[in-house]
Amino acid sequence: MAHDAPFLDQFEMVSARLPGVGTAWLDQLRSDALSRYETLGIPTPRTEAWKYTNLRRLARAGFVAAEAGDATDALAIPEGVTELDGAYVAVFVNGRYSASLSSLDNLPRNAEVGSLAAKIAEDPASLESQLGRLGDYSSLPMASLNTALMADGLYFRLADGVALDRPLHVVSIGQADEEPLSFHPRHLISLGDGSTATIVESHVGSGAYFSNGVSEIAVGQGAVLNHYKLQNEGPEAFHLSTNMVRLDDRAIYDGFVLQTGARLARNEIKAHLGERVECRLNGAYLGSNEQHIDNTTFIDHAAPNSSSREVYKGVLDQSARGVFQGKILVRKDSQKTDGHQLNKTLLLSPGTEIDTKPELEIYADDVKCSHGATTGELEEESLFYLRTRGIDRETARGMLVAAFIGEALDEIQTEAPRVAFQAIVNGWLDRRDQG
């Protein structure tokens, strides 16, 4: 069947200026990825994985590739990011590292944090074993497109045993004026055995832009990564993000994704678990107007004795639409797996919709796994109870919505990001009340 593969023309236009051109393995990686994308085409609802998220509008928006220098007027970090004091800050504008907005001084020894493009320029050989090696991209058209077109992103590497003393705040700013711009940020995150870090991502911006990110996240044996992401893109933005997570034996990953921005957004996480791993993939989504917010996760219990926990809670208002697809695979030898998944959505108005698809695929016999999904309106009984205490209807509704989403935020194991995300949620609820 003939299919649509927009953005191919971008490759011809920008390929000569992409970092690392002329490095044989990287050229090969890019051209392989490009042909994968060309073969697969942009996903359509005919593909099972994209049944509920339609990219037709994205394909037709006429995005052109953001080039270095398109956004030099980014002089400050805009509002809407996570409020974090005392963090290292790495800022990317339209996918490109901004040294002037970043502050990465006094990093611990054996911690490398900076621009991937710079790393490619300095020492491309060191990346050959890291870039595009975390998992199988062959069935992922948008991640393949990213591999073909990636120009920059975060390069983060902790040697064995290094503890990052402060959180790293990765701020991604999208900026488009007349022309709709697209960029394909590539983050490479690697924690050596026994190392620890907290990384907070904030995605914000203005104008019509398309961020098509890929993060490759490798967490070594016994390492701990707290990884929290705020997707608070501008109202005209498209945000697609593929996160490949590999957790080695005894690693701990505490992940949380708060999605409240963008016109259309999909955050996809593919986690591969070693033995005795603790993997927490939690999230919350707040949608209004015509927003479409998709959370798709795949947890691969590839070894025994690991646990995964997944709680996603969302609130949808006006004509917003949500998607949750959560697959848990327990392989034959992954005995004593403990996997739990829960998706709850609160629909505040009749125009909203949630498509939720839990999927457990279990081949081991000695496991504890569960999943659950609920969708509904606020409990009439709870509202009545609050109102009989003198609390007016709108305040009571606000309290119940805040309580509902607050339970998801409680899953965040690190206090400062939890408090900061709560503030983002409170802001959304306040605007809703006033609107």
């Binding site: 409990e379 009439e380 009984e381 709870s382 009545f384 109870y385 609050l386 109102r387 009989t388 205490r389 003198g390 609390i391 007016d392 209807r393 305040t395 009571a396 309290m399 119940l400 805040a402 309580a403 509902f404 607050g406 339970e407």
Partner: protein, 252 residues
């Protein structure tokens, strides 16, 4: 002026008439008990008075402090001084009991023209009232009613009544699910709140509660109407003879 006047009150739930002409007058400072068998309309009466959606008044009127109660929304009724102690207090995960109490207290206070309490004033005020009811700080910190025992839930209801200082409290089967020790604590709490300017309408199936909260008047509700009223001895008589004789008299 009477505190509460219910005149020929008819109400339906899901199109079915449950209250079929209730009349009742209460003066300030009085405690009235409404007793009745299951299905007599006791809970419906409490929900109609407190303004729950889905309980439709088809005729009759209710004056509260001389004003038309039925034209007010549930939260307006509460701010005007009506309190319903629930038979089954609702569990609300994610809302801390203190947050809930502070929001409620300040909504009622602002309505009465008083200043809202700040965090310090609020804590002092609530702790004082909570002490008498064996409600400790741990309970106050927990999400509202979540994981509370039956006795804790009812003590929490009485605490809410104590801090909201209503003119009229409707106690819907407050005794249900309580053992005798829990019942005493709750009844003591209620008795401490008896006041010359406050009325209480105690709805119960059993006479037992009225040993502890002694009423001025007792009404028997059956088939959606008050079929007999009397003083506290009526409750004892009912206990002895059973509902059948009263309900039977009405049916005949």
């Amino acid at each position: 002026m009477s505190l509460l006047e219910i005149r020929d009150l008819h109400a339906t739930v899901d199109g079915k008439e449950i209250l079929k002409g209730v009349d009742l007058v209460m003066e300030p400072g009085q405690v009235h008990a409404i007793m009745g068998p299951n299905g007599s309309g006791k809970s419906t009466l409490s929900y109609v008075l407190s303004g729950r959606d889905g309980y439709e008044v088809t005729s009759g009127e209710v004056l509260f402090d001389g004003k038309d109660l039925l034209s007010l929304d549930a939260d307006e009724r509460a701010r005007s001084g009506l309190f319903l102690a629930f038979q089954y207090p609702v569990e609300i995960p994610g809302v801390a009991t203190t947050t809930f109490l502070k929001t409620a207290i300040n909504a009622v206070r602002v309505h009465r023209g008083e200043s809202a309490l700040d965090a310090m004033q609020f804590l002092k005020f609530v702790r004082e009232k909570a002490k008498d009811l064996n409600v400790n700080d741990d309970m106050l910190r927990r999400p509202l009613n979540v994981g509370f025992s039956g006795g804790e839930k009812k003590r929490n209801e009485v605490l809410q009544m104590a801090v909201l200082e209503p003119k009229l409290a409707v106690l819907d089967e407050t005794d249900s699910g309580l053992d005798i020790d829990a019942l005493k604590i709750v009844a003591d709490g209620v008795n401490r709140l008896r006041a010359a300017d406050r009325g209480m309408l105690v709805i119960t199936h059993y006479q037992r509660l009225l040993d502890y909260i002694v009423p001025d008047r007792v009404h028997i509700l059956a088939g959606g109407k008050i079929v007999q009223s009397g003083d506290k001895t009526l409750a004892l008589e009912l206990e002895e003879k059973g509902y059948a004789s009263f309900v039977g008299a009405e049916a005949a």
